[in-house]
Symmetry: C2
Subunit: 119 residues, 2 copies
């Protein structure tokens, strides 16, 4: 039962697209991730995902629209909905999602992180 | 699939100790709440709770210690652990917890909110 300081946790990694675990509760994971550039199009069969911008901004692309997200804003992407995060500059994002969630969803590939590290 | 702006949501209510719903995913609720003063001692039988300070500061009291929490810090209180949030000045907190969670847990009483409003 230690408090978690987001600034301190964000100072512990630099890699993009590689989520890090900071908390677990009720079968859900809380992760921090840094985005820069374009991710892969993917969806999650069984998991809804929450994206909360801690620092910076990015856009969530969907097949039919784009949602711009800035610091202090969040978005829930429901299961089954194809999406692709894109960040022109580095952005720091907090994720809430089921523990079973894999970052690249149905798409897989080189950026897949099956078991994120705790930081 | 609308983005959620925390500042805008926080402007929509003033009551203390009355959580408001802002998102739902995977059977979990995301809520905003404003604390000021002392809450009731309670625990939750079946739910872990995450407290994330959006603005201000408060302390989480446990029977054997106190954890001070400031903006950008979070704490997970595991199920079964008695706790009491106390805020000397108003603080705005994001909660992430199972949809079934009731704010006063096992204690009940006048401050109980069984079904929080969506804002």
């Amino acid at each position: 039962m230690q408090k978690i300081n987001l600034t301190e946790k964000l100072s512990k990694f630099t890699a993009h697209w590689s989520p890090k675990l900071i908390a677990e509760l009720n079968g859900q994971h809380v992760k921090l991730v840094k985005f820069r550039g374009e991710f892969v199009w993917h969806h999650h069969e069984h998991e809804d995902e929450l994206f909360h911008v801690v620092r910076g901004r990015f856009r969530m692309e969907f097949r039919d629209r784009i949602v711009d997200l800035r610091e202090g804003e969040m978005l829930v992407v429901p299961r089954g909905v194809e999406h692709r995060p894109v960040a022109d500059e580095e952005v720091c994002v907090l994720l809430f999602e089921p523990a079973a969630t894999v970052n690249t969803g149905n798409t897989g590939g080189a950026r897949t992180v099956v078991q994120p590290d705790w930081i």
